[in-house]
């Protein structure tokens, strides 16, 4: 047992903390490449996720080139357009957001925030990253095989996904996509196991569940969701691989392709949809819950005010997590389901809006009368709240069967989900990077560049996605590379599409500012000191910045309070860190 000495309140016995046998890396390879340190793994995860995310960003620009200026670019055929759309969606949802929030922020923040030296199973954690990396390599590989990557749409619906009419359907594209997903899931499960067990077993003395920062609550609950939801995608991928390679008929009905009767028969494409969305809907919350948690901490810290309704926030996170498993079929209203099922899923969908709205109210009430510092993390957080609210409101439209049916498969849906799980979480990612970069690197990001980055990204995103709602309401379908001369589509749609594309290019290019800021500040940024935001949580109280191997020096911190003690009356500063026993004369310690 490692005994943690404590000096301040004499009544407290020494804490018993589980013995941690830290793995000490000896060579460059084991220290920086095959590292078992969660912080290094976090940076590896983030680096790979951002790199592949940039590929998806370029793909989205190519999509916009085609939509904004159809027939101008010869290299974009309908086939390549479908490939761009598919890979853009899949990369953004799975390989960027999931990996970045859980693999990146989860790995970096969980051990530091709960007062642990590392993850519970560091070796498994390392394997998790390398399998993820392999999954990304396989995914990238599919761009270079004959026939190119799959163009089946990110939902990979059968039967079209594995037929010759779809790009990559008969080639290697779809196979590599499925293999890559399966690898991703295996890798993620290894990581997820770590995040859950570390939160359950690795907390330092005094860090009860109700003293966890909301960031940890968000990541923890999202990981539980992911562990239970990803198996559905794994089952679907494995069965589809069998359908594609060995001609089983799990999902494939009997069909005729170019006059040839295929050997498939009896399979159920709806079965795939159920499996896919049983994963797909929790996936929305796998991305959203960490964002909720992070944004709560950012707002509280930068408004110098305790989070409003901490308990409600925790209950809402858990409630949203549980509810997210019984709403999946609202993605399938047009699949011909029984009307009563539609009614059931519409009801659960609207119920999930209650805890979500509760969180929004609590953020706003946290800001109310706060000492709001309008720095970059705060701006991104505010941007998130507004954007998430916007996306949530259009979600109310789409959650209702009767409104969803005419809007289904239109650009309105595209605008909705980009607002709610594209732009909103990405704003949080940026906010979180501006917030924690000083801890990771020891230097501040440039504030002026950060603000320019924020305003271009935020306003630009609205210029992209707000008009898209109107295009969708007119009835413009999604997934069409060209609109042609349809009578119901007015000419203004084409103008609007060009405008959206221009806005998209500007937002895309503005991200170079961010990357430049990241690299420039690494060497030239203003030194941040250990706790530049005067934040309360444990990661800011480490003896070294960036935190050394083992995080906390010889003794693990003891936790005396919840993570939101800002502007405490009677305290010498305007915050009390979680490991601060507080003014000695206070009546606090029991």
């Amino acid at each position: 047992m490692v005994e943690t000495k404590n000096t301040s309140p004499p009544s407290v016995p020494p804490a018993e903390v589980d013995e941690v046998e830290l793995y000490h890396a000896k060579s460059f390879w084991t220290k920086y490449v095959f590292s078992q340190d969660a912080k290094v793994i976090a940076i590896q995860y983030s680096g790979v996720a951002i790199a592949i995310g940039l590929v998806a960003l370029v793909l989205s620009s190519l999509i916009r080139l085609q939509l904004g200026f159809p027939e101008m670019f010869d290299f974009i055929t309908p086939e390549t357009y479908y490939q761009f759309v598919t890979m853009h969606g899949m990369i953004m949802v799975v390989y960027l957001l999931t990996a970045l929030f859980l693999g990146g922020f989860g790995n970096y923040l969980i051990p530091l925030m709960i007062g642990a030296r590392d993850m519970s199973f560091p070796y498994v954690n390392m394997l998790s990253f390398w399998i993820y990396f392999l999954a990304v390599l396989v995914l990238v590989g599919s761009f270079f095989v004959p026939g190119g990557p799959t163009g089946a749409g990110w939902t990979l619906y059968p039967p079209q996904a594995i037929l010759s009419g779809t790009p990559g359907g008969k080639g290697l594209g779809i196979i590599l996509m499925l293999v890559s997903l399966a690898l991703f899931i295996v890798g993620f499960t290894m990581g997820g196991l770590n995040y859950v067990v570390t939160v359950l077993q690795g907390r330092t003395r005094g860090m009860t569940m109700m003293r966890l920062p909301l960031t940890v609550w968000g990541i923890f609950t999202a990981t539980v969701l992911a562990l239970l939801a990803f198996p559905a995608l794994l089952v679907a991928t494995v069965m589809m691989l069998f359908d594609r390679l060995l001609e089983t008929s799990f999902f494939m009905p009997s069909l005729v392709e170019f006059g040839d009767q295929l050997s498939y028969g009896g399979g159920s494409p709806i079965l795939f949809q159920h499996l896919f969305w049983f994963f797909g809907h929790p996936e929305v919350y796998i991305v959203a819950l960490p964002a909720f948690g992070i944004v709560s901490d950012l707002i509280s810290t930068h408004a110098r005010k305790n989070i409003f309704g901490y308990r409600m926030m925790v209950w809402a996170i858990v409630g949203i997590g549980a509810l997210s498993f019984i709403v999946w079929a609202h993605h399938m209203y047009v699949s011909g389901m029984h009307p009563y099922f539609g009614f059931f899923f519409a009801t659960t969908t609207l119920i999930i809006a209650v805890p979500t709205a509760l969180k929004v109210y609590n953020w706003i009430l946290t800001l109310w009368n706060g000492n709001i510092h309008l720095n970059t993390p705060m701006l991104f957080s505010l941007g998130f709240i507004v954007t998430f609210l916007n996306g949530g409101l259009t979600g109310l439209f789409l959650g209702n069967v009767i409104v969803d049916i005419p809007l289904s498969d239109t650009m309105f849906v595209v605008a909705h989900f980009h607002m709610v799980m594209g732009v909103a979480p990405i704003l949080v990612v940026f906010g979180a990077i501006y917030h924690w970069y000083p801890k990771i690197s020891g230097r501040m990001l440039d504030e002026r560049l950060g603000k320019i980055h924020f305003w271009v990204t935020f306003v630009g995103s609205y210029l992209i996605f707000f008009p898209m709602h109107y295009i969708g309401l007119v009835g413009v379908p999604r997934r069409y590379p060209e609109l042609g001369d349809a009578a119901f589509i007015p000419d203004s749609v084409a103008t609007l599409n060009s405008f959206i594309s221009l806005a998209a290019f500007i937002v895309g290019i503005a991200q170079i500012l961010f990357l430049y800021n990241l690299f420039w500040s690494l060497r030239k940024g203003r030194p941040s000191g250990p706790n530049p935001w005067r934040a309360t949580t444990l990661e800011w109280q480490t003896p070294h910045t960036p935190p050394a191997h083992g995080n906390f020096g010889p003794e693990l911190p003891l936790v005396y309070r919840w993570p939101y003690d800002y502007s405490v009356p009677g305290a010498s500063e305007d915050f009390l860190a979680q490991n601060d026993p507080g003014p000695l004369d206070s009546e606090s310690s029991t």
Binding site: S120, M210, L227, P231, V235, L246, R561, S589
Partner: protein, 257 residues
Amino acid sequence: MTVVLIFLAVVLSTSIWWLSHQRLGAKPWLENGLDSLDHGSHRVSLPKAKVGLLVILAVVGMLFTLLFSSHFMRQEIEDWRSIPLPNMIWVNGILLLAASFYLQFALVAARREALQVKMLEIGAPKPVNIRHNEKNNNSVRYLLTNACVLTVAFLIGQLITWLELAGKGFFLSGNPSSSFFYVLTGLHGLHIIGGLAVLFHTTALSRSNIQLHKIVNKIDLCALYWHFLFFIWCAMIFVMLGWTYDPFIELCKRVIS
């Protein structure tokens, strides 16, 4: 998806039951100090490897339940013809059950050993009913080795069922029922192989000079995993035999609709 939802309800209610013991109603902003919140909300009182295994079991359980659900949904389509399950599966079942039992016995023996070591440490008098140390060590080794052998025999048995089915003309493709048979048993086999790697390691440790009480936890994990995989195997056979389908599911359907 009913089966999935039932399984999910079990997992989620267990989690929420655990959470409800974490004083979710506490007002952390009022309760400062090291201990005020600490009562009754300690970490789970299990070794972290075991918590890890329980998490894995939940994930594996989810995986198989999803396949069972898919099986039920696919079964409702007209082209479904159930295949006759080879009789060999019953032999395999007994082999896996026996391995599971052997592991449980090994666990009991190893725990007894661990208790004995602890008692020696605190200087308690040696209880009469505890068997001799060396003998105990030998029996754990013997039991673990038997579990390994039986599990390998189970895997070979599963291969024989595959060959038997293939001999009758039921291949992976062609009949959805046989597709599910191969996928389910294959996936189950893969999980067994994964567990075997750990079991082999544990057995090798028990045959080396290591003191038994140091590997009790490992044996515990193996035993739990084997019981779980035996349970999954039973559920699998249950689903594939279609016992749950005809009378019971029909009844449930009538009740629901």
